[in-house]
């Protein structure tokens, strides 16, 4: 058990800056998820922590210990690879025992730990098999088991679910969360899938082009994204963005998008009034746009009209891909009872309590 600290960590591959001045403190027992599109530096960050890459600049601490020059095997960490990296010529038992044998753990202790880990993961009956005799899900468990037996201070996961089918992924997600509670160890997890991040993390670190964008709880990232990138990355379907202007009329503040005008709720108008007259990026999530007949109670409604371009029935909801009268595309996630077909003009209600405003130049959130 240990915290992890990145201090001004930079990693360059030639001229390419993979990680740029990352400073981040991960608390003991935290489940921190690095998320971002491919090439954003999240895996490099994890590999730096594992000691598989050398720092270009900065320092990394595990607990209070500076580990910049500590080889991977002495960092007291275990890693689950995306490919699982099971040793193909060894049985499941030997795969899990390999690290303990190298550390000269007594035989009966190895036996005890391997069986305990196998029991936790439900793979006791597989201990004699070779990796190629296992299914993808079973291999993934063995890879996790290999990490558990080592009893490390920090667990590292590099996209461990991306090779599983969708159903198994959902199931394994829950199991990893459970495992985190059970082990009470620091988990550092890398994924490109924001759903994985949202469901498992105690905190999420969003990265882009090697730069840390925002670190916070899933809830806060969703409700108060710090910039346009985070707002667009977290949530599915992505947040809708419109170029708009803040205007005041009759003492009320409005978001004027040209073809629509939406009133800002009074409690938000206070803080946004100082941007009056400015151009802004107006962001609204698809789930905050409702079809008029099915508006939920206790929201601050503002109406707009749009033409339906495509509809996608998901069962529990419908995604409406709409166009504003001046032809700007956005998505609404509406009640499945909504009767809308391609080409229809529909009345939509926007919940302005959940509006987001961003600066068009810096793309930062306006408060």
């Amino acid at each position: 058990m240990a915290s992890v600290t990145f201090e001004h960590v930079t990693k360059k591959f030639g001229d390419v800056v993979a990680v740029n001045d990352l400073t981040l403190h991960i608390e003991d027992k935290e489940f921190l998820v690095f998320v971002g599109p491919s090439g954003c530096g999240k895996t490099t960050t994890l590999r730096l922590l594992a000691g598989l890459e050398e720092l270009t600049d900065g320092h990394i601490y595990i607990g209070d210990r500076l580990v910049d020059d500590v080889p991977p095997k002495d960092r007291d960490i275990a890693m689950v690879f995306q490919s699982y990296a099971l040793y193909p010529h060894m049985s499941v038992y030997d795969n899990m025992a390999f690290g303990l044998k190298l550390r000269k753990v007594p035989k009966d202790e190895i036996d005890r730990r391997v069986h305990e880990a196998a029991r936790i993961l439900g793979i006791e009956q597989l201990l004699d098999r070779k990796p190629k005799q296992l299914s993808g899900g079973q291999r993934q468990r063995v890879a996790v088991g290999r990490a558990i037996v080592r009893n490390p201070k920090v667990f590292l996961f590099d996209e461990p679910l991306s090779n599983l089918d969708a159903k198994l992924r959902v199931q394994t997600r829950a199991e990893l969360s459970k495992l985190h509670h059970r082990l009470g160890t620091t988990f550092v997890y890398v994924t490109h899938d924001q759903v994985e991040a949202m469901t498992m993390a105690t905190r999420i670190a969003v990265m882009r082009d090697g730069v840390l964008q925002q670190v916070d709880t899933p809830q806060t990232l969703y409700e108060k994204p710090g910039n346009v990138f985070v707002a667009g990355f977290i949530g599915s379907p992505s947040m809708n963005f419109f170029d708009a202007t803040l205007v005041e009329a009759d003492g009320k503040l409005f978001v004027d998008g040209g073809s629509f005008r939406l009133e800002v709720p009074p409690h938000l108008a206070e803080q946004y009034r100082k941007y009056k007259g400015q151009e802004v990026i107006f962001g609204i999530r698809p789930e905050d746009i409702h079809a008029k007949p099915y508006v939920p109670p206790e929201i601050f409604p503002a109406e707009m009209r749009a033409q339906v371009d495509v509809t996608e029935l998901m069962g529990s909801e419908i995604f409406l891909y709409c166009l504003t009268p001046d032809g700007r595309a956005f998505v609404a996630r509406v009640d499945p009872r909504t009767k809308a077909r391609r080409g229809d003009v529909v009345d939509l209600v926007v919940n302005m309590d959940h509006m987001h405003l961003f600066d068009p130049k810096t793309e930062k959130r306006l408060e």
């Binding site: 991977p72 890693m79 990296a85 010529h89």
Partner: protein
């Protein structure tokens, strides 16, 4: 159904060619084998295929030829010499090449690429160019005519190809496996012995077969560095001198030839399954 007939038909010419090639190699060998069991009179008076008229006729086959060749003609001693030469001359280059290939594939050191290109470049140097300088060196260091001398020579000649093949094979092993081993606490040496070597058995085995057969069949290098003295001469050297001394004694020559073929056949058939086995299946995602 029709498609299956079509594909079968399309494969007929291929199979004819394969069967033809197999026969072309097999028939002379079979003739050699049968002749080696026939008496001198029979060999001189009729062709080997005539035995098929009465394949089970007792008395037309004899082991006498083998006895004569092994004892009187010194093939027994030569057989032992061949083993003494071939086993270390197979093992040494593969060991050295495996270590070198591991470094070329998985370690960072200055001039790595350049050095590798030089090693690969040595593949095109004809062996004959090296005979005189090395023999002079051997004479000065008293390695000429000794087993260690020929071990070293074969190691040197075998290395470029072995390093080249093994490096390419090693480089295909997923990086994750090594990194995982390092995280598990493995040193570079442990990763070599516990991960790399077990996974490379197919490559090592096929290389071993090549090197073994090449050394076993080698006449030139043995003749130059060892000479023809009975104490050290391998089968190939002995066999070629038998051709000179027993030119007309086909029954003995065929037996001698078969003795020299026996071990390579055993080696090949015992290791051939590694040629086709893909041990990497299942290591990374399936």
């Amino acid at each position: 159904m029709i498609r299956r007939v079509e594909t079968t038909l399309a494969q007929v010419p291929l199979h004819l060619i394969l069967v033809g090639m197999a026969l072309a190699w097999f028939i002379p060998t079979l003739g050699l084998l049968i002749s080696s069991f026939r008496t001198q009179d029979a060999v001189l008076s009729s062709g080997w295929w005539t035995v098929f008229r009465n394949p089970f006729l007792a008395g037309q086959f004899t082991l006498e030829n083998y006895r004569a060749v092994l004892e009187a003609q010194g093939m027994g001693r030569a057989f032992v010499n061949s083993i003494i030469i071939t086993v270390p001359a197979t093992f040494l280059p593969i060991l050295v090449a495996a270590l070198a290939a591991y470094a070329f594939a998985w370690m960072d050191f200055p001039m790595r690429r350049t050095l590798f290109v030089i090693v690969v470049g040595l593949l095109v140097v004809p062996l004959q160019m090296t005979l005189i300088p090395i023999l002079r060196l051997y004479n000065r260091t008293h390695l000429a005519g000794t087993f260690p001398g020929i071990w070293l020579a074969h190691t040197g000649y075998g290395l470029p190809l072995a390093v080249y093949l093994l490096r390419n094979f090693f480089a295909e092993i997923p990086r994750d496996l090594f990194e995982s081993a390092f995280l598990d606490g493995a040193s570079r040496w442990t990763a070599f012995t516990h991960i790399l070597l077990p996974l490379s058995v197919p490559a090592l085995a096929s290389l071993a077969i090549f090197q073994f057969i090449w050394v076993w069949n080698d006449l030139l290098v043995a003749l130059v560095y060892l000479g023809g003295t009975e104490k050290v001469a391998p089968l190939t050297v002995r066999l070629s001198s038998l051709v000179n001394s027993l030119g007309q004694n086909w029954h003995l020559l065929t037996a001698a030839a078969f003795i020299s073929m026996a071990l390579p056949l055993v080696i090949f058939f015992s290791l051939q399954r590694y040629f086709v086995r893909g041990i990497l299946a299942g290591s990374v995602k399936g």
